[in-house]
């Protein structure tokens, strides 16, 4: 596979755009014409067409360099987006090992890992990195192991400690989040950090999800898709910077909604970390403008039906209640009422 990397921005002039290929491989999150919370876990293994985002353990796409540049800007402005409580040091090395091993195997043309005992050499060709370090020795890296590898990997990463029959959000690199604060939530358990989510607690969703996650096994990762809506292709929709992006939410018009309203999909995966017994929780964000989504007729029809019928409190929680009439009105033009096929992939 040959990838050419775009150079675009997720802020300022918002020059981000998906190629036709990127639109076709977008992980559309709805497998039917309606949506409600569920523990929609499945094994994280290859699925879909050859170029689908599910084919490799840590998907690298055309936005790789742009996303890493955006992360660097966010971290420079607010270093607390990357934090690790002291007991998570080993989990950070677990994550580094997991990602380096997977990327070197899945993308041998882009990444290489050479190991000689604890002496490791890591080559990241797209980013021009060629580093040698000693595995498990923090002093041999320019920063902590979690920060080091996640500055080179698309998606947010939470590292969860497992104890007392619960999972604890004790470390993370969070720069492309759907409106939650690592700095505030760090140290919370599974129920606490999900506390603001409406409905799901009453539905018993979290109890079931937690039980599932506590038993995720080494070498058997799982995944699920989550989604929300974002105005403008912006990765950094954090509470910290809400005053910056909040006004943009109110800038939609019938004329620009197709271009500026994005469906934001998180490919979440869950990995048992063998050395620390923690859990790695990558949250990979994909963005697609409505006008691009509707080029897949099945997706245009289905997204219209899902958003039209979504309960109001979920629309509020996902932050687009105020824009829903505009969005639904726009999408209705691409829904001729024809039946849609099951599953998430284009016909």
């Amino acid at each position: 596979m040959t990838l050419s990397f775009s150079q675009s921005r997720f802020r300022d002039d918002y020059s981000f755009a998906n190629s036709d290929a990127a639109i076709r491989r977008f992980p559309f999150p709805f497998d039917r014409d309606s949506y409600m919370y569920s523990v929609n876990m499945e094994p994280h293994r290859a699925a879909g067409p050859e170029d689908s985002v599910f084919q490799r353990r840590f998907d690298v796409d055309e936005h790789y360099l742009s996303e890493m540049a955006d992360r660097a800007i966010t971290l420079q402005r607010d270093p607390m987006r990357c934090q690790s409580l002291p007991h998570m040091r080993l989990a950070g090395w677990d994550l580094l090992e997991l990602i380096m091993t997977a990327k070197a195997e899945d993308y041998p043309d882009l990444f290489a890992l050479q190991r000689d005992g604890a002496c490791w050499r890591w080559i990241n060709r797209p980013m021009g990195i060629d580093d040698r370090f000693t595995f498990l020795d923090d002093a041999t890296l320019p920063c902590g192991p979690m920060e080091y590898i996640t500055r080179q990997t698309q998606g947010d990463f939470a590292l969860l400690d497992q104890r007392q029959g619960n999972l604890w959000m004790d470390a993370g690199m969070i720069t492309s989040q759907a409106d939650w604060s690592l700095d505030f939530d760090i140290g919370m358990n599974f129920f606490e950090w999900h506390a603001p989510v409406p409905r799901a607690a009453q539905m018993g969703i979290f109890q079931r999800a937690l039980k599932f996650l506590l038993n995720v096994q080494q070498g058997a990762p799982s995944r699920r898709l989550n989604w929300t809506m974002t105005v403008n292709p912006r990765l950094d929709t954090s509470p910290e910077t809400y005053p910056e992006w909040g006004p943009e939410k109110r800038s939609l018009t019938p004329e620009n909604v197709g271009q500026r309203q994005f469906l934001r999909v998180e490919l979440q995966s869950f990995w048992r970390l063998p050395r620390s017994n923690g859990l790695a929780f990558p949250i990979r964000c994909y963005l697609c403008a409505l006008e691009d989504l509707v080029t897949v007729p099945k997706w245009g029809r289905r997204l219209h039906r899902v958003l039209r019928d979504l309960p109001e409190d979920l629309a509020t929680y996902k932050g687009f209640a105020v824009n829903r009439p505009l969005i639904v009105d726009y999408l209705s033009r691409f829904d001729d009422g024809a039946p849609t096929s099951p599953g998430i992939f284009p016909d």
């Binding site: 409106d179 604060s181 700095d183 505030f184 939530d185 760090i186 140290g187 919370m188 129920f191 606490e192 950090w193 999900h194 506390a195 603001p196 409406p198 607690a201 509470p239 910290e240 910077t241 809400y242 005053p243 909040g246 006004p247 939410k249 109110r250 509020t316 932050g319 105020v322």
Partner: protein, 192 residues
């Protein structure tokens, strides 16, 4: 984002009347409003008097409390707690009573010193004032009684969320007019 509903969410701390627990020592922390709760606890369990050590924050010392160390204000609490925990051993129980702000801060300091949450009890006494952290500039406002309130750090109007961080000992405040700058509702008193 919109304000959380008024009913309690799972990150909200739980407060309950202090109950005596087994342990070889007791560290009690209270403000003027919480001193009564400590007196009640000690009346209920007189054995605790022999091993209790009390940090009393910004309050006159009532005559019926034993082993009181006065702490002039919450800014001196960290040093006072560190001193009180010198050489502390497992089996120590902490009893906190007072405003949400005081007990939230005291709990955060005790956790940072290695105490387990299960050894810390909290009883809220007094009004509904909350310790709030501004999510934007991270300034902590110790006693917020209105919603929205003006952040003493960045001057933004923030709404009061129910989302609580044990580590910070604070609730989260988020800009209320981020999407519609200047449109700030009239502040109302926080419900208890």
């Amino acid at each position: 984002m919109t304000p959380a509903p008024a009913n309690r969410i799972p990150s909200h701390p739980t407060y309950a009347p202090l109950q005596p627990r087994p342990g070889h020592a007791a560290l009690m922390i209270a403000d003027a409003g919480g001193a009564v709760a400590l007196a009640q606890l000690l009346a209920q369990a007189p054995d605790l008097r022999a091993t209790a050590r009390i940090l009393l924050v910004a309050a006159d010392v009532p005559p019926d409390l034993p082993a009181v160390t006065p702490v002039p204000g919450t800014e001196a609490l960290e040093a006072a707690i560190a001193g009180a925990l010198q050489g502390a051993r497992m089996g120590l129980q902490a009893y906190l009573a007072g405003s949400q702000g005081l007990i939230g801060q005291a709990q955060a300091l005790l956790l940072a010193q290695g105490m387990a949450p299960g050894a810390i009890q909290m009883q809220q006494c007094g009004g509904p004032a909350r310790r709030m952290q501004c999510v934007h500039c991270k300034t902590i406002a110790p006693d917020v009684v209105i919603d929205p309130y003006r952040c003493p750090g960045c001057g933004r109007w923030l709404y009061v969320r129910d989302h609580f961080s044990r580590r910070l000992g604070a609730f989260q405040g988020v800009c209320i007019d981020a999407e519609t700058p200047g449109l700030v509702p009239e502040p109302t008193e926080i419900a208890p």
